[in-house]
Amino acid sequence: MTKPTACKMRFAWNTVLAIFFIVIPTQAQAQVHALNKPEAFFAKFCLDCHDASAKEGGLSLVGLSAKYSDPELHKTWVRIFDRIRAGEMPPKDELQPTAKQREVLLAELEQKLHEASLQQQKDGRVTIRRLSRAEYENTIRDLLDIPVEVQSRLPEDNLIDGFDNISQGLETSATHLVRYQEAADLALVHAMPPRLSGLTIKRMTGKEWLEWRPKIYHKGIVPWSRIEGDSFVFRAQLYKHGSVHTDRTKVAGRYRFRASVRAINNQGKPIPVDIGRISTDRFGHAELEHLLGIQDAVEGESRIIEAEAHLITGESVYVSPRTLTLFRSWPKDVPKPDDPKFDGPELVVDWIELEGPLGLGDAFESFFGGMKRVPDRFVEDAKAGKKLQDWSRWNVNEFQKPHNRLRFITETPKEDAARLLGQFLPQAMRRPPTQDQLDFYIGRANTLLDSGMPLDEVLIKVYKEVLCSMQFLFRIEKPGKLDDFALASRLSYFLWNSMPDDELLELAARGELRKPEVLRTQAERLLKHRKGQRFVTHFTDHWLNLAETLDMKPDNLYREFDEELAWSMTEETRRFFVEVLDNNLPVTDFVHSDWSMLNERLGLHYDIDGIQGMNMRRVKLPADAHRGGVITQASILKLTTNATYTSPIKRGAWILERILGTPPAPPPPNVEAIEPDIRGAVTIREQMALHKTQQVCASCHRKIDPPGFALENYDILGGWRERYRVSKGGEGIDYVPLANHPNRKKESWKTSPQRVYLAKPVEAFGETSAGEAFADIDEYKKILLRDPNQIARNLAEKLLVYSTGSPIEFADRRSVEKIVKAAREDNYGFRTLLHAVIQSPVFQSK
């Protein structure tokens, strides 16, 4: 085909309706065109490849409409803009525009695209959307102050850009509507417990605990322990059901557990103590799920360890010395704990304590105004003021019977209903109800009361209607700048993954929340509140995909994988995130830092000496540690691999998506799969050589593969490696012990199964898409750190997407740049960046 030189048409750059046709100018004409005109720029630098016949990369500029507000065309133009801005187009080996020419073009194009994008946003960036499953559960829990588990009853939410709270991913199907009703039923049963038990604190000394245990269990405990004063002393690890534990909870709720513990005779090293839950169902909790925390007991002085958790009825909390030998695997040649010659380490438990349910009484108080309840059959007597039989110690099941159901004692049920609804509605709707709404629900209550229904049933019914209303289930915002109440919700769903509390709603009612300094103070308050932990967990789960860290069970080739490592690796990343956030450290620390949050188990895994105990603490990293930043943390390296082998593609894509914010295009269909060969003959990297030679692969893989290659020095658990580990020996393949196996015994290396074969050496060198060579991850990180703005930009975008529920659009970019600037002026501090996000117009508009 010939190029359409004959087709001469007028350019229509600025007219939205006209079609933009490129005309290939002759040599003479080209000189006539001033090169600051966009059309001339394209003609000169782009059209050789992007014309109607060559259509390089599927793009023809000929006939490409300049209707920027058209959603599809908009995307195309943004892509053109981005590639030119990144300097990727025109390609290096083609004729290049001057810096000035490029700048002028980009400025003009930016303005057009910004205006068009703004136009698209006139009704807001984000549409009305329902609460995500996680938001729903947290909101129900906070509203009713009950630990009810409802997530599993609702359909899973779809992820958009990795997040579960994005408008487009939150379709509302009939199943949702039916399930919301079931979830509300379940929640309200919990909200009106048959028995109110106020806050209790129950403390037992170690000795009391043993005495409290039925004698029949003593033979599994006593020979492996001793009593010292009032304390119980572990000499071995027991089964968790036989370990020191609290009484079972009478009601579900949030509880605080504390214990006083001390280590003895452990060569000056701490003994890590598991704090875990024992479910009513013995098999109710998977290994790691039962663990509430691991904290160290030290020698010399008792210290208090503690954990807070939602417990369901009938659960108890136990402590267990993690590093003591499990009683049933006691070695034959070591004196047993009941042998006078025993001289092993011990864990002293002075006392344990369970406090709770925290805040439950308050909830009932606030919902039901402290109204008195009595069993149904005593209602008349109670009203008549007669003395009642003591029912406070009845079995909980008694209250299920219709004649014993607890009823409110009131002479004025309608007034009570109106008052209680007046308190409930603003919280449930997260803003004051309109008069119509208030009248509607009070009317419903009155109708039901008139039909003879008792007040407690009426309230449950009407509250259920509220919990199934648009105002509860949906986040409703009007176009333009958010009103105060919508802003309160946006802030609380951002930092708490849940509804605003009274203080936020009051500030909103007074119209003060929108004041920058008030908003800032509130953001600080929310972050410091215990619910602020939800931001840490939920945001890292999705931004970094940390939620999937433990999904894949590693191959038996990696026998060093144990529960401690599994627990520690996720903990490291979350604690790292908190450390950066709390200390306003630069966002570049996510790429590289000279410190990390470690414990002994991670020290062993990373080959860093001198860390004792399982407590996580900030550790300065040795210069040659090859660690620092999240991208070289075990959790991240594990979640980007398969069970037996690492995938440079997955890891590379992860860096581009999560750290640089430049996600690669999805792979083309029907590409032949790479089949790993764990016999050690070929490395993945050798198999990936094809990416370089095949043009269709190369355009993306020259970006994806380099970071992946740089990370090749880390195995599937994030351990450092210089050679690949394989399952079988072969020629030139060595047989070595596992250095980082926690239970390794040096003398038995040759006979123990904790040894592996090492095959080919790892090659971690590469070249970035811009052509910069690096030898390994340390050098690659330095290249990344040269552009801190991009790291800040990505994080600003991720926070905006997460907090507003909508992907970043072109018109948001100017705000993003302001956020980046604010961070840059404060040494790229992460907290500064977070505040700048909250203060930005994108955050504060629909």
Partner: protein, 432 residues
């Protein structure tokens, strides 16, 4: 009576003892009458028995050399896996060279295994599309107590079933829960409470509709579009509640099986899957549902003799012969279980044939060769359903036939007049 005896025997072997029979007379009244001659609900006008469909998904692909025979047609030479299905030769078709088109190599394809949504849905930018089971369930509507059952053993339940809005259908629950919903009548008191709950549920939907109307006045265009979609959801939810109400007062079919047999703790995954299969048989036989999706879990609990490493671990065999052998043992046991399920269906006689004759049973996987994470050449078997089965149907292993061509054919077999499903490129009419 001979049949009954053998069925008992088989059921005992499967870990559940269920007395029989449950023939047409024991089905909920009124259901049979509806089924005659009504094509849109998927019933065969020439048969008194309704049509059913079971979609089974197992992860981790297959070791092809042990599954795919050298020759096509009915006279194939059974290799290791097909030997377990030898008794059913002629009652199923194994497809080779079939898969969803355009998927990158990743196990995330399970999201699309029964929907055939475009691969971009894995990137999370566009929603999934409706799955085969839900499309059929829509047609059946309220004719059965449950429109469909979506079940899975532990980690097998990862979203396989998707509704028209691209929302994953949540699991129907554990075996005990499903058994209770299908076969255990509530007390009159409980039924009354349930009826009240459902009636209240409908009035709540009315409220919601009212709230939508007033919101529309306040909000802009994009929001209004969203609310329009909500209105269809409200209508659908009303239908669901209506149907639940209609069924709530009807007595449930009597089966002589104890819930304990289904709620007991499994000794192994083999045990577990067999109990699920027994439950599925009961559900189909009593016409409590006609559509079942079941996700067979990865079997990482190795407490079965001769299995030394986990299933997932074995699937990444990396060509190591010892691992391949372990992997093959897992698969062999899966196919043995599958064969037992086909036995159960085949031995359950009804109307003019067996339950198997009226039930399309599809078994497939999200992966072909799991060791390479390859998502082509998916191991796919279709049994029963009144097809003239052809043993091994071989398609091009380098250039696969779209799996949705088969799905479109399955829809037709269900009496649904269409030649479209997912991104199909035709209908697999070679299967008649």
């Amino acid at each position: 009576m001979k049949n009954q005896l053998s069925r008992r025997t088989v059921l005992r072997a499967a870990g559940a003892s269920i007395a029989l029979p449950m023939l047409d007379a024991m089905l909920p009244s009124g259901l049979r009458a509806d089924t005659n001659g009504n094509e849109s609900n998927g019933n065969d006008p020439n048969s008194a028995a309704p049509r059913r469909i079971v979609l089974l998904h197992r992860g981790l692909g297959t070791y092809h050399p042990y599954l795919v025979p050298k020759t096509a047609g009915l006279d194939y030479e059974s290799n290791r896996y097909l030997k377990t299905l030898e008794a059913h030769r002629g009652k199923f078709t194994l497809f080779s060279g079939i898969s969803h088109q355009g998927y990158p190599n990743s196990h995330e394809t399970s999201r699309a295994i029964f929907t055939d949504a475009a691969p971009e849905s894995l990137q999370g930018t566009i929603p999934n599309t409706v799955s085969l089971d839900q499309l059929i369930a829509e047609k059946i509507g309220g004719e059965t107590r449950l429109r469909s059952l979506t079940m899975g053993s532990s980690n097998g339940a990862a979203s396989l079933s998707w509704n028209r809005k691209g929302v994953p259908v949540p699991s129907s629950g554990g075996r005990k829960e499903v058994f209770a919903r299908l076969f255990i009548d509530g007390s009159p008191e409980e039924i009354k409470t349930e009826m009240n709950r459902l009636a209240h549920g409908r009035s709540i939907l009315d409220n919601l509709r009212g709230q939508l109307q007033s919101l529309k006045l306040d909000l802009g265009g994009a929001d209004r579009d969203r609310l329009e979609v909500m209105e269809t959801s409200i209508r659908e939810a009303e239908v669901l509640l209506h149907q639940e109400e209609a069924w709530a007062s009807k007595p449930k079919p009597a089966v002589d099986a104890d819930v304990k047999e289904f709620s007991a703790r499994d000794n192994s995954w083999i045990d577990g899957d067999n109990r699920w299969y027994a439950l599925m048989r009961l559900a189909l036989q009593t016409d409590s549902t006609r559509v079942i999706v079941y996700g067979i879990s990865e079997h990482n609990n190795t407490n079965v003799q001769d299995l030394e490493i986990g299933h997932h671990d074995a699937s990444h065999h990396g060509k190591d012969p010892a691992k391949i052998e372990q992997f093959a043992r897992y698969e062999e046991k899966d196919y043995q279980n599958f064969a037992k399920f086909l036995d159960l269906l085949n031995e359950t006689k009804e109307a003019d044939g067996s339950l198997l004759d009226h039930t399309q049973v599809l078994l497939t996987s999200n992966l072909g060769d799991a060791s390479a994470h390859a998502s082509n050449n998916l191991p796919t078997i279709l049994a029963g359903g009144g097809f003239k089965h052809q043993g091994h149907m071989a398609f091009d292993e380098a250039n696969n036939l779209p799996l949705s061509n088969l799905y479109a054919r399955m829809l037709q077999q269900f009496g649904i007049e269409t030649d479209r499903f997912g991104r199909n490129k035709g209908v697999l009419t070679e299967l008649v």
